[in-house]
Subunit: 249 residues, 2 copies
DNA sequence: GACGGTTCTGCGCTTTTATGCATGCATTTT
DNA sequence: AAAATGCATGCATAAAAGCGCAGAACCGTC
C-alpha cells in the first residue's frame, strides 16, 4: 500500500467517523504503528486532522475545544488590527477573509465608522454584527468547520460579483518567492476570488508567518498592495517585501 | 475512548444540561471518577466549564452577567427543543429560522446525528458549527441586526431553490384565526419562503405566545403541519390547534 | 544493468502520557 | 463521634510517542 493511498484512507476514515485509533489503522493496513503515527503527523502538519494521544480526530470534532488564547500573539494581532482599521474610510465596501487577525480587526473598528463589510467568516460576522454602524453582508454556502468560513462555488460566484474598495486577507504564510500560500484548498479558492474582487488588497500577518510557505498557492506577492505586520515598517525582515513593491505598514 | 473525545462529550453534556455529575459521567463513559475529575480540571483550566463539588456547571449558567432573567421560559424552550430534536432523522435536510428556541434546538441535537442544516440565523449557525456531524449551509445576504438573520431578495431566492424535508420555524405569535404573525417585515418574507420550501413545517413556540398576534401575517395555521410547545399535547390550550388539523407534540 | 542518492518503513530503545488505585484529609451527613 | 462523600497526592503500570538507526524500496543517471 502506498503512502498516499494510506493517507487518503486515513483522511477518509477520519471524515467519516470523526475519530481514528492508531492501533486500529495499523491493523487494517498492515503496517506498523510508527508508520501510522508518521502519517498522522504529516496530515496534522497540513491541517487536515488533529492528532491526539492514541489516534486522531477530525477538525470539526475538536472544535469544541478552543485552543488556549496565546496572549503573546494576541497583542500582536491587536497592533495589526489597529493599523488595518486606520485604512478604512467612511462609506467603504470592505471584503474580509477569515482568521483570528481579521476577528481582531473587527473588534478594533472605531465605533463611529459607517461602512459595509462583506465576509464569509462566521466569527468575523458575529463581531461585525455587534457594531452599531456597520452594514453586514454574509456570503452564503456550505460552511467549512475547520476554518469556520463559507466555501464552495456559490460563495466564490457571489464574491466575483462584488467589487470592493478594500480587501483584507488574513494569511497563513507569505514569502517573496512563493507568494501567499495556504493549506486548505477550499479556502485558497475563496481567497483567490477575494483578491480578484478587491481594488486594493491588504494582507494581515503576524511576523512569524513571514518567509514561510504552505502547500497550496494563493497568489504572487505582486498581486497584493499592502502588507501589515506588528513590526515597524523599517524592520529589516520587511525590506524584501518593500523591494518587491509592496506597501508595508 | 480518547481523552479529547471524552472532554468533547463532557462539554456537550454541560452545555446541554447546564450541569454534570462526575459520578454520572464516569459511569456513562466507563472510566474512573479520577479520570473524569482530571478532565473537568483541564476544561476548567481552559475556561470552558466551572468545576464544583461533585461535578461541573456550564459557564453561561452561573454567569451573573448574562440575564438568565427567566429561567422559567428557558426550561420551557429546552423542553421544546428536545421534542423537536426527536423529529430529526439521520441524513435529513433541515431548514431552520432564527429565534432563541431554534438555538436551543441546535444545542439539543444528539452528538451522533448526521444531517444537513440550512439557516440564515447567525446564532443558530454558530451552534450548528460546534456539532461534529452536522453539515452547515448558510443562506447569504444582508444581515438584519435586530434579528441576527440574513434577509433580502438573495436569501429568499436561495431558500426557494431548496426543498428540505423538515422546516423548523421559531414563531412570535400564533392564533387559530390570524395564523402565524410577526412584527418584522423582512423576517416575515423569509419565513414565507421557508414554509414554501419545507415538505413538513414544524412550528416551535412557548405556550405564552399561543393565541396572540402581531401586525404582519406569515401564514395560516393550515399551512403548518406540526406545533410543538412545552405543554402536554392534551392540554386544553392546545385543543383548538388540534381541531384545526395540526399535529401537536 | 550498476550506481549513488533519496524516501520509506520497521525495530529497539527511552521518555512521556494517561489512567487507576491507595492513602490521607476536609467537609458534610447521620 | 462515626460514616460517607469528594478531593488531592503519590505511585504503579500500560500504552503511546519520540528518537536514532539500519535495511528496503524507489528514482534518476550513467
Amino acid at each position: 500500500m502506498l503512502k498516499r493511498e494510506r493517507q487518503a484512507y486515513i483522511l477518509h476514515q477520519v471524515n467519516l467517523h470523526n475519530k481514528v485509533l492508531s492501533s486500529n489503522l495499523s491493523q487494517e493496513m498492515n503496517v506498523s504503528e510508527d508508520t501510522i503515527r508518521r502519517d498522522l503527523l504529516e496530515l496534522t502538519g497540513q491541517g487536515k486532522i488533529i492528532k491526539v494521544h492514541g489516534g486522531a480526530l477530525s477538525h470539526s470534532f475538536s472544535n469544541f475545544y478552543t485552543p488556549v488564547n496565546d496572549i503573546y500573539s494576541y497583542a500582536n494581532k491587536k497592533t495589526i488590527a489597529e493599523k488595518a482599521a486606520s485604512l478604512i474610510r467612511s462609506g467603504m465596501f470592505v471584503l474580509t477573509s477569515g482568521g483570528t487577525t481579521i476577528i481582531e480587526l473587527a473588534r478594533a473598528l472605531p465605533l463611529d465608522l459607517k461602512a459595509t463589510f462583506i465576509s464569509g467568516s462566521i466569527p468575523a460576522i458575529v463581531e461585525y454584527m455587534n457594531h452599531p454602524n456597520i452594514e453586514v453582508i454574509i456570503v452564503g454556502d456550505k460552511i467549512s468547520k475547520s476554518s469556520k468560513i463559507t466555501v464552495g462555488g456559490e460563495a466564490i460566484a457571489k464574491i466575483k460579483q462584488i467589487k470592493a474598495e478594500l480587501c483584507f486577507l488574513g494569511i497563513n504564510a507569505i514569502d517573496v518567492h512563493h507568494g501567499i500560500t495556504d493549506n486548505d484548498w477550499d479556502v485558497v479558492q475563496l481567497k483567490k476570488a477575494m483578491i480578484e474582487s478587491g481594488q486594493k488588497v491588504v494582507c494581515l500577518s503576524i511576523s512569524e508567518k513571514l518567509n514561510s510557505f504552505q502547500p497550496i498557492k494563493v497568489c504572487d506577492v505582486q498581486q497584493i498592495d499592502t502588507l501589515i505586520t506588528e513590526l515597524d515598517p523599517k524592520d529589516p525582515l520587511l525590506s524584501p517585501y518593500i523591494d518587491a513593491g509592496i506597501q508595508v505598514l
